[in-house]
Structures are given as C-alpha cells and as structure tokens.
C-alpha cells in the first residue's frame, strides 16, 4: 500500500521536476537561516554563523542530489534522458538513420511475413482435437528410373478394408480433394461456385467439432451409397453467402444431378483440412459418384491414431491390406504390361504426420518457401551487418564525446545503457516499419501464388505466435546491433581519444570482415535471384506450339449429354458473335492439368511401358489453336474415335521410332479388355499437354465423335469451347458468351470461363513468385551492401583524414590515395565474392528442382552476380574515394 502510493508520487515527481526543485531550494534556504539564527544565539558572529550553519547542514549540493534521487525514479529518469539524447543523435543524422531503419525494417518485415506464410501453410495445427495424432496415408511407387512417385489418392472399397482391420489402433477418415463445383439454390441459370468436399460422416465427431447451428454429419449419414442428401456448410460460407441467416437450415441446393439439404453450420474455426483452401460445403462420402468403384481413386485417407499405438505395425497392417486389394484388382488388368503391374503392386504405404493438415499447396510450395526463407534470412543478415557497421562508424565519430563522458565520470554501465538505448530505438522504429510491411506482404504473396480464378484462402492471423516471433526477432536484432558498439563505447580510454590518436586497427578489421560477409551473402542472393529469373523467363519464352493470345475457354456442361452435332451447332452460334474469328471444342483445354492416358500397342505388339496421352477434339480444333500441321490432314467432321487420330512429333518418335506414321495404326490399351484402334491421319508440332515444366508428352488428338463397339455415337456431357477472339482482353466477352450459351436453350451451360493465357500463367505461379521476390530481395541486398560499404569507406576515410593529408602534402598522387583508401575494401569484396561463389555452387544442387532450362554452373549465372556486385561496389566506393582525393593538406593540417 505505502509502496504503491510512493511509486505513484515518484512517477508524478518525474514530471513536476522544476516546481519540486524550487520548493526544495526554499526549504533549504529557510533551514540555513534557522541554523544561522541558532548559531548567532549561541554567540557567533554573522559570518561565523553562516559558516557553522553550512557545516551543520552538510554539503548543500549533496542534499540537492539526494533529494532528487529520493523523489523520483533515477533509473527511469536516466533512461528518459538517454531516449531524449538518442533521439537527438538519430535526428542529427537523418539520412543514416533512415537508411538503417529502412533496411532493418524491410529485412525484419520480410522475415515475419515469410514466417506467417510458413506457419499458416506448414506449422499451425488444425483447429481440431488431437491434431498431433493425425496422419495421412499415401502410396509410394518407384518407377523404372528409380524415381519415387507419391500418390495420396485412394479408392473407397480399399479404404473400407483398411478401416476394418485398423479399428482398434486408428480411426480412418476418408476426405475427398476439395473441388470448386457448380451448384444452384434456384434454377440452372443461376449457377454459382462453391468449394465442396466429401468427408466420412464420423469426421466431425472424431475431430471433436461442435456445430454452430443445426447438426453436423454423423456416422449414420455415411452407411449406404447415395442415401444421405445432407450437407454441412462452413461458418465462413454461412456468413458470406447467407449473412448468418439462421433460416439456412433446411434450404436445398442442386449439385450435379442431386439435391442436398443443409442440416447444419460447422464451427467457426474449421475450414477443412487443406491449408490454402477453405472448404465451404461438406457432403457424406456415400454421396460421391465413385464411392462403390474399385478403379477410381479419389479421396485422401487420414488416420487419427489412438494414443500409444506403435506406428510401424499399424503401417505394415494397412500396407498388407491395401496390397491385397490391388493384387485382386490387378487380375482384371489385361491391357497393361506386366512390369507396370508389378510396379504398382510394389507400392509402399506411407503414413506421415498431418498435424497442420494436408494440401496440394503444401506440396507445391514446400521447396519454394524454404528457399524464400533462406533469401529472407540472408537479407536480414546483410541488414544487420550493415546497421552494425553504420553504428560502429557512428560510435567512432562520437569517440570524443564518449571520452568526455568517461572523463567526467560516466560509468561503463551507464555508457552501455546509453548506446543500447539508441540501438533499441533504431530497432523499434524498424520493427514498426516491419510490422506494416509484414501485414501487407503476406497476403500479397498468397495472391501471387494463387490463380485469380481460384484464389488460395490461407488464414493469416496476426496472433500470439506471429507476435512472439516478431518480438524474438526484435530482441535478437537489438542485441546483435547494440552489444558490440555498446561494449566498445564502454571500453573507451579517455586519454587516447581526447589526444586524438588513431583508432586501434582491429576496430576497422571487424568492419572489413563484416563487409566480406555481406558481400558473400549478397552474391548468394544475387545468384539465386538470377537463377529464378532466368527460369521464369525460359519457361515463358519456350515455344508453345499454339497461340494463346485472344483464346477464351468456356468450360461447358450439358447435364443430360449432347451429340457431337449439337456441340458443333452451339459452336457455330458462338462463331457468329462479333469479335469472334474461330470456335472449336475439346474435352478440356491444354495445360488445364487434365489428363487421359493409356498404353500404346503398335502392330499388335505388347502394350508400351510409357503412356500415350489423349484428348478429344472437334474438327477445326487444330486451326483454332493455330497449331502447326506438319503432315497429313486435321480431324474431319466424319472421323471417329476409335478410328482416326492426329499425333504429335513426340508420339511419332516414341511409338513409331520416328518413321513416317501416316496411315499406320496403333491401339490404345489400358485398364479394361477393350482395345481402341486408331489410324494416324496427321502429325502436328509438339505442344505442352499437361504441365509447362514437364518434357513434351507423346500426345494423340482424337475426334470427339466417340463410337462404342456397336458403332453408336455417344453423347458428351462435358467439353470446352475454345473461342478465338480479336479482343485484347477476351475476358470482357465472357458474360455475353455465357448469356448466349444459356439462351440457346440446348441444355448447355457454361460452368467456368478463363483464357488460355491464364492457364499458362497459373502454371508459372511458383516461378513468377520466386522470380519476383528473388529480384526484390536481390535489389534490397544489393542496396544494403552498397550502403554498408559506403558507410565503412566513409568512416575509414574520416579516420585517416590526417594521414591522407600528410601523404598528399608529401606528394602522393590521386591514384596512390585511391589505392590506399580502397585497396582493403576491394580485397574484402573479392574475398566475399569468392566465398559467395563457393556457397552458390554448393547451394545449386538444392535448388535444381525449382529451375527450368538453366543450370547454376552456367558461366553467365556466375559472372552476372559478380559484375553487378562489382559495379555496385564501385558506385558505393566512389564518394569516399573522391573525398579522400580532394582532401586539402593545408586545410587539414591547419584545422588540427
């Protein structure tokens, strides 16, 4: 109680200093007068009395100081004084301060932003009970080249068997890959998109989740195929789509051919198990069209392992069951080469922790994010080295001030506190900038890595985790920055500095060492950034084999199926629209990652190990795509599949050994007993089929007029219209096209519109991200290194002004001076560059998988960073060297 009251008064006293001082003076004066009176009463003369009174009271100045110290909080007051003087120091050198704050802020901000991304994608546990016991099952196949391929897709009947044998040890949960599906709450004309996921009914209770509204799916909703048209929507979807309307329970929507009823709203935090995708609608697995199929692998298998279960026996048990399932199934595989069957059956089941969930985004960006982290960390190191050097230089320029402080009695701790306060202020200002930067940058990176038509949704809360990382970072930076200069300042020898003697050489040495380190890191950053930039460039500039510009893609559905003629008629109606030059149709667009493959058998030979890739196309498709027909003819309106086919160059090379294939035939074999015979009528130039980054695949373009073994032409329910437009932005015509298709009344509806260019861009997202951020960090690193170098040189010239003056007076030429001033630094830069080069070559191996069409060992990839670095160094060194050369010996020596 009393100490609280005292503290409050002490705090108050810190602000009323002057009034309290006046009061104290008055009291002391009165006290002295009283004492004098007393002395005079005892018979002293007035002069004597004054003297005796002062003796009696003790030193007036001491009393004053003691009074002040007792009154306030001396530590806080000295801190406040340090903050004030620190602020004055920083403001006195606005440019240096700004440079330091900016570089530190950018570096720290990048670090925190990178952490936010990594945390959201890989570290943050799912908001479910026992996330630490969640595992995901996958199968690993080793292909003929020895490369491993992981697959996380499972067939439901296989899942059921595995679930039955592992009931005691683990709770197996089937979860489909979240898909962006078309659905409607009203009529077919008002279709909308939502992220839909089929999940085991018991998932919610296994995860310990509670509904916000209504009920969640249960085990009872997941027993018989097709019997449970119920759905649970996410809290987020409920808020956005329905404005949190409680009447949403009982509403129905159409999805495909089915009608679902909304029975509940999920808990607020739960957005599915895929970081990067927020599931909006959960449906029971029993409602999935492939739930009974043994040959369709469509869902992930998660396992919530019981506490204390040994993992390896569980894994082995599941492995055996799954292998048994595949072995039984393989008896029906007649069209496949035996080696391929053996390869599939040799697959090994893997169980990996899935505490943070599982998503495609994780797999795609694991490597890229790691390298981003490395770049960010390197930049932070450079920034720290930089600021440490600047601080050292500043401290050196204040050597006399410090010496004076020591001389009039400042203690070591007091001086350290003063310098540390200054570093802390710098660190805190940088932290302010960093938090703004991180707040803005993390969502921006998420936008960069996700296609516009299908944005990634990554929760990026600025919560305690992020805050802790930020605080630790600040603390580390402040210690790193402040400690060395503080120790140096406190070890000041006043006589040395006041005499104006030379600084000991080793101080400059540590600065030089920092320059070398900075250069090395900078070189590495430049090297990596260069690789990423060239990768992006080569990927985009590779020949496509078709023209993407102006190509609009209408993914179209016809729920009850339509004949090829009806599709063609719809295409003609689109062609009649203004601005449209050509229209064709194919099963799906190239580079949409869709794929349809099978083994190829030529002349009744054995089915091939390598697969051929297929795509159904309409007559005129090759023209619309502006692909180059090398030989023969394109698909004609009367061609059928099986029947005729146009193949690409790679196909000719792989399956016809490069001989003229025209008129020759091949069979597509595969899962079933059916063999589909095709005659080659034309050859087109190679185009990327599925992914931009993989090598050209042997592709066959077959007519979309498919006939069954009785010769009856089938109906197509899915397809994509390719509309070649003259518009600079084809997307501007999207709405009109949609209306046109709906108005045709032929049962077609457009479910998605995109441009071919978007598909290409979507496949270069990672490369674009790395190239852009790489360039950004390279710029920052270069700037920082240049600023740091400038600071060091400037400092060393200032330190040696007198020496240089003397040298000039004794006849040194400008060349001599430039050499004296910069030789050391250039040696350090060269040393740094050499270390950087070594680091670069060592790191090249690890980034190789992120590169395309470029190798780190290419001469240009190594010389470019070196040249850029040397240019920057020369530019940064010039001002200081000029200053040294311009020193006027007369002025210099006179001023001494």
């Amino acid at each position: 109680m009393k100490s609280i009251r005292r503290m409050m008064r002490q705090v108050r006293a810190m602000f009323g200093g002057e009034r309290a001082d006046a009061e104290m003076e008055r009291e002391l004066a009165a006290h002295l007068l009283l004492l004098e009176d007393e002395m005079m009463r005892k018979g002293a003369t007035p002069d004597e009395a004054r003297r005796l009174a002062r003796i009696k009271l003790g030193g007036v100045e001491q009393v004053r100081i003691m009074h002040r110290e007792e009154r306030g909080l001396p530590f806080v007051e000295s801190l406040a004084a340090d903050v004030r003087s620190g602020w004055r120091q920083l403001m006195k050198r606005k440019v240096t301060t700004a440079a330091a704050v900016l570089s530190l802020g950018l570096a720290m901000g990048s670090c925190v932003a990178a952490f936010r991304l990594v945390d959201a994608l890989f570290l943050r546990p799912l908001p479910i009970a026992h996330a630490e016991r969640l595992y995901v099952l996958s199968r690993q196949v080793i292909d003929q080249t020895g490369a491993p391929h992981d697959s996380g897709f499972w067939a439901y009947p296989d899942f059921v068997r595995m679930r039955d044998v592992s009931k005691k040890d683990a709770d197996l949960i089937a979860v489909s890959f979240t898909e962006r599906d078309d659905l409607t709450y009203k009529t077919d004309e008002e279709m909308e998109k939502a992220y839909v996921q089929y999940v085991s009914g018991w998932m919610f209770s296994s995860f310990g989740l509670q509904p916000t509204l209504g009920r969640l799916l249960t085990q009872e909703d997941d027993r018989t195929p097709g019997a449970y048209p119920y759905s649970v929507i996410s809290y987020d979807y409920w808020s956005r789509r329905f404005g949190q309307d409680p009447k949403v329970i009982g509403r129905t929507f159409h999805l495909g051919e089915q009608v679902f009823e909304i029975v509940g709203v999920g808990p607020k935090e739960f957005t599915g198990i895929e970081p990067g995708t927020a599931t909006e609608i959960f449906l029971p697995t029993m409602m999935h069209r492939w739930v009974t199929r043994e040959d369709a692998s469509w869902h992930r298998t998660l396992a919530l392992v019981a506490p204390g279960t040994a993992m390896e026996p569980l894994r082995a048990k599941l492995d055996a069951v799954s292998r048994g399932f595949e072995t039984e199934r393989s008896k029906g595989w007649t069209g496949m080469p035996p080696q391929q069957i053996a390869m599939i059956l040799a697959a090994k089941l893997l169980m990996e922790p899935a505490t943070a969930g599982v998503s495609a985004l994780q797999g795609d960006y694991r490597h890229a994010m790691a390298w981003l982290g490395v770049l960010v960390f390197l930049v932070l190191l450079i920034a720290c080295g930089n600021v440490a050097n600047l601080m050292t230089a500043l401290a050196a320029s204040r050597a006399r001030e410090m010496a004076l402080r020591v001389a009039i009695g400042a203690g070591r701790l007091r001086l350290m506190q003063m310098v540390m306060v200054e570093s802390a202020m710098l660190g805190l200002m940088a932290a302010g900038l960093a938090s703004v930067f991180a707040w803005w940058a993390a969502p921006m990176v998420v936008r960069l890595i996700s296609p516009a038509s299908n944005p990634a949704r990554l929760a990026l809360p600025a919560d305690v985790r992020v805050l802790m990382v930020g605080l630790l970072l600040i603390l580390a930076v402040i210690l790193l920055l402040g400690l060395a200069p503080a120790l140096r300042a406190s070890a000041m020898q006043p006589t040395m500095a006041l005499k104006g003697g030379e600084e000991p050489q080793d101080k400059r040495r540590s600065m030089y060492a920092l320059v070398a380190a900075q250069t090395a890191f900078c070189f590495l950053v430049l090297f990596l950034a260069g690789l990423f930039a060239v990768t992006f460039h080569r990927l985009l500039s590779q020949p496509m084999g078709f023209e993407a510009k102006g190509l609009l893609l209408l993914e179209t559905q016809s729920p009850h199926g339509q004949t090829p003629e009806a599709w063609a008629q719809m295409g003609e109606q689109l062609r009649a629209m203004p601005g449209v030059t050509d229209v064709a149709e194919s099963g799906w667009p190239l580079l949409s990652t869709g794929s349809w493959n099978g083994s190829i058998s030529v002349n009744g030979g054995p089915p091939s190990m390598t697969l051929g890739y297929f795509l159904t196309v309409s007559p005129g498709w090759i023209d619309t795509m502006k692909m180059r027909l090398l030989e023969g003819r394109a698909i004609a309106a009367t061609d059928t599949f099986p029947g005729e086919a146009v193949v690409n160059e790679r196909f000719v090379k792989d399956f016809f050994q490069g001989q003229d294939p025209l008129g020759k035939t091949f069979e597509k074999t595969g899962g079933g007993a059916q063999k589909l015979l095709c005659r080659v009528v034309g050859v087109v130039a190679d185009t990327p089929y599925r992914y931009l980054r993989e090598e050209m695949l042997p592709a066959t373009f077959v007519p979309y007029r498919e006939v069954d073994d009785k010769g009856i032409v089938g109906k197509e329910s899915d397809g994509t219209f390719l509309v070649r437009t003259t518009a600079s932005d084809p997307m501007a015509m999207a709405a009109e096209m949609r209306r046109k298709v709906a108005a045709a009344g032929a049962g077609f509806r457009v479910s998605n519109v995109e441009t071919q260019q978007e598909l290409i861009d979507n496949q270069t997202l990672q490369e674009r991200l790395l190239a852009m951020l790489g360039a950004f960090f390279a710029g920052v690193a270069l700037l920082l290194a240049a600023v740091g170098l400038y600071g060091v040189l400037h400092y060393s010239v200032m330190q040696r002004e007198r020496e240089i003056g003397v040298r000039i007076a004794l006849g040194a030429t400008a060349g001599n001076i430039a050499q004296i001033v910069s030789a050391w630094v250039f040696a350090m830069v060269l040393l740094g560059a050499a270390i950087g080069l070594t680091l670069s070559l060592a790191s090249e191996r690890f980034v190789a998988s992120l590169l395309y069409g470029v190798k780190g060992t290419e001469m240009s990839m190594m010389t470019l960073p070196a040249v850029v670095l040397l240019l920057a160094v020369a530019l940064a060194a010039a001002p200081a060297v000029m200053r040294a050369i311009r020193i006027d010996p007369a002025m210099m020596l006179r001023s001494e």
Partner: protein, 76 residues
C-alpha cells in the same frame, strides 16, 4: 535529534523526509517560527500515527527476539 549518540549532518534528514512524505506518513506545511522566520513544519498524518504504532510494535517485537537470548546468556 539525539546529537550525542549519532552525529549526522542535518542535511541527511531530507531524503528520509521525502520518503516519509511520499509514504503519506507526514505532511509539511509552511509557517512562521517564534522569531518570525519562514520554516516548513512537518506533522504526522493519521496514517503516519497508525504506521508509527505498527512499526513501533514491530520494532519492539524484533528487539524482544534479540534481547531475550542476550538477557538469558548474561543472567546465568
């Protein structure tokens, strides 16, 4: 002031006065001495009187603890 036993400068009193005032145990007031000199008069507040009681009691208790063994030792 017990000048015989403890010879301190009067100035050393000030820090103690500041502290006591900050505890709220004493309050100073300007006034006039009988010689009509200006002087600050410190008086105990209510809280001060109470605290004095408590502190005295505590002091006695402490002293008692020390004194008892001392007495016993020398009375043997």
């Amino acid at each position: 002031m017990s000048e015989k036993l403890l010879n301190l400068n009067q100035g050393t009193l000030y820090p103690a006065l500041v502290r006591l005032e900050q505890y709220g145990w004493i309050a100073g007031e300007w006034g006039r001495t009988e010689n009509n000199r200006e002087a600050k008069f410190y008086a105990m507040t209510k809280a001060g009187v109470k605290a004095l009681g408590e502190e005295t009691a505590r002091w006695r208790q402490k002293m008692g603890l020390v004194e008892r063994p001392l007495n016993e030792e020398f009375q043997v």
